[in-house]
Amino acid sequence: MRGATQVRWAACAVAVALAATACGGGGGTGGGGADGIVSSSWGDPQNPLEPANTNEVQGGKVLDMVFRGLVRYDPKTGEAKNEIAQKIESTDSQNFTITIKDNWTFSNGEKVTAQSFVDAWNYGAALKNNQKNAYFFQYIDGYDKVHPESGSASAGTLSGLKVVDDTTFTVKLSQKFSLWPDTLGYAAFVPLPKTFYENHDAWLAKPVGNGPYTVESYAKGSSMNLRRWDGYPGTDKAQNGGIDLKVYTDNNTAYTDLTAGNLDLVDDVPASQLKNVEADLGNRYINTPAGIIQTLAFPFYVKAWNTPDAVKVRQGLSMAINRAQITDQIFRKTRTPATDWTSPVLGKDGGYKPGLCGSPCEYDRTAAKKLIEEGGGIPGGQLKISYNADTGSHKEWVDAVCNSINNVMGDNRACVGAPVGTFADFRSQVSTQKLTGAWRAGWQMDYPLIQNFLQPLYYTNASSNDGKWSNEKFDGLVDKANAESDKAQAVTTFQDAEKVLAEQMPVIPLWYQNGSAGYSDRVENVSLNPFSVPVYDQIKVK
């Protein structure tokens, strides 16, 4: 019968289809041992891969492999250690003399000299180059000339930078900043080869640096293959043959690929898979602290929030949030309840002090309700928490925080989530002071210093002080800490400033964020650094 033949033919087509796909499947990466290649998930970097223009993890991963700077943060402890720098000296916390080792070269053979640094920093700071990390150079003298707040630049180079000879240069800061050398591990401070300026487009298509890996090929938006550079002069040579970064459209797909054995490393385990991760990966799952803190911020440009009574309300709200339950249930322990305004990755010496916040960060239903009522209740009668609904699982935890507050207040309308469609729109509302309620705020450290968790966020008119909070006592203590020449003393003074935050509660600390990653049984010695970037050069292929 004709009909039946056609059905059979159709079935055949499906079978052929699946069989053919089968032929296309598989793949995987060849080679093992010291020359083995590790495949890793990646996301399309948001900005061109210039060091002073990369401010997110995906581009940061590449820079971390391709570049080395004066200072490098220890992947385990986050401690700043000299890498290219021989010594960084100062007598007054304001004028620094930097001497570099003379055995470093770029992978194209060019020597790394003092000039390579000075040119790169001048490039990064100059307004005309549109570098998003330009503010890193703000402490160097002359920054306001090359990068004025408005209008055009009146100087081409930073007056605070002077090359003495091939291996020495001096830096003059515009203010005292004793911990400044510790900031130099950030990617914006790496040296750049001459070809970066002379042949910019070609450099962007295939970046050349001085790190343990070189870029073998780069297909924008889809993949980058990095290979070990055998001539690398540093001590942290790559333990594997190279890294293949693959862009995934969705981190769930990357995770699926990992479980199917097609991928070696996923450094962002999707929230929806956290409940399966133990079963799928067992001990090949990493969950370690990263230098990220999540908070709830408030608008101090709105009168009702900027009163002495509102302090009590904020403290009450903080006490009404059951942090432990939310981090367990929603984040499955990939967050830790926060008890100060820094991060555990700083370590005790770096300024992390658990419990600094004290009782205002502890869950206490009766005290919470009492404080909020003493403070005259929530301004406007309802707390609106704005968040971006497009990425991350913000809706889940904002709703949970609101439920927690509503339970305490015995009022179903005391707190509601206010989603904003896209991250860009959310950020633009936050940074132009459009929001009249609270909003979710996150801070990923630029360098593992307590200063970085405080000054940019809470100092009067600081770059990321979106709520426009201002406190003279806090500002005074930060200035004092920056002028301290002794590191331990500076850290203690910063902690004193942090205690002002506990009294005033300008933002409510929620939790410290962890970095998570999963890896295949082909590789070992996988870890994440305090910036939640995998330490690629230490990965070993079995």
Binding site: R2, A20, E56, Q131, S222, V247
Partner: protein, 307 residues
């Protein structure tokens, strides 16, 4: 015929400008894209202002639109925020999505139409009922369920395919995603063909053809099927455009770096240039597909004439 085509082409001009203007306004309503470029921190105001000027975001919307359209006509679709030219993005994304669409359409035509003919000819028999129930199931299950399920079973549990498509996206790796993408439309095509065939089996021209003593194959293929295809072609024609732009779910599940993914990312990053550029091309695809469908009517049904 020629005059008809010219008239249709002229009609496309206002449609083209209207749709691009709408999408341009919609993307602009979402707010300032530069604010999203600096993560959870504030961009420094001087750099942000320079970026706005560079992307022309400091001008009024109507002026932005005019400049943009002017550039489009010279083949310049602008630059994405990561410094890549939008034309470059298109050159990588469109070939992949076209391959995926072709695979999906082939599945729709081959499986959908053959199943439709079989069931249409055997109305009420078990084969018919069975296929009908099956199509109902396929239509009611969302694509992401089918996609994730097949990916898990074939990709992870049985290991017959790779769960994700490589960045080159060769044809053989696109067969499963294509099947998933086509599944719902395929079910509709089956049902449309079946109804149409069942209706036309009793048409006069079929009876005439049988009476002439033509072989059954010729009656079915030349007379019955050809005349029954009009609603099906209409559906497939509009589906070409829908598949190209609407493959976001399938593309994300199977890691296909096609048009859907670029659009998704463009919207997330509020990249006006990418979104408007891709949608403009999609609008053109829609318009062209519709014109071709209308012209095909005349080929399929000799009674239809365009003056």
């Amino acid at each position: 015929m020629g005059r008809y085509v010219i008239r249709r082409l002229l009609q496309m001009i206002p449609v083209f400008f209207g749709t691009t203007l709408l999408i341009f306004l919609m993307v602009n309503v979402m707010g300032d894209p530069v604010a999203g470029l600096c993560g959870d921190r504030q961009c420094d105001p001087a750099t942000a202002a320079r970026l706005r000027a560079e992307f022309g975001l400091d001008k009024p919307v109507w002026q932005q639109y005019l400049t943009y359209m002017g550039n489009v006509f010279t083949g310049n679709f602008g630059t994405a925020f990561n410094g890549q030219k939008v034309t470059e993005l298109m050159a990588t994304a469109f070939p992949i999505t076209i391959r995926l669409t072709v695979v999906a359409i082939v599945f729709e035509i081959v499986i959908g139409i053959s199943l439709g003919v079989v069931t249409g000819l055997q109305r009420g028999r078990p084969v018919d009922t069975g296929v009908l129930v099956l199509t109902l199931v396929v239509i009611s299950v969302p694509t992401f369920v089918t996609g994730l399920l097949l990916q898990l079973l074939l990709g992870v549990k049985w290991g017959v395919i790779s769960p994700s498509v490589s960045s080159e996206a060769p044809l053989d790796e696109l067969i499963l995603p294509g099947l998933v993408l086509a599944s719902v439309s395929l079910a509709y095509v089956t049902r449309l063909t079946r109804t149409s065939i069942a209706e036309n089996t009793r048409a006069d021209y079929v009876r005439t053809a049988v009476a002439k003593g033509l072989p059954r194959r010729r009656v079915v293929v030349r007379h019955l099927l050809r005349n029954s295809l009009i609603p099906v072609i209409t559906f497939i024609g509009t589906d070409v455009g829908a598949l190209m732009g609407g493959a976001i779910v399938t593309e994300r599940i199977f890691n296909i770096h096609g048009v859907g993914y670029q659009l998704y990312q463009g919207i997330l990053r509020q990249n006006t240039q990418t979104v408007v550029g891709f949608v403009t091309v999609l609008v053109l695809v829609f318009l062209a597909a519709n014109l071709i469908v209308d012209l095909l009517y005349a080929v399929l049904d000799p009674r239809i004439r365009y003056a």
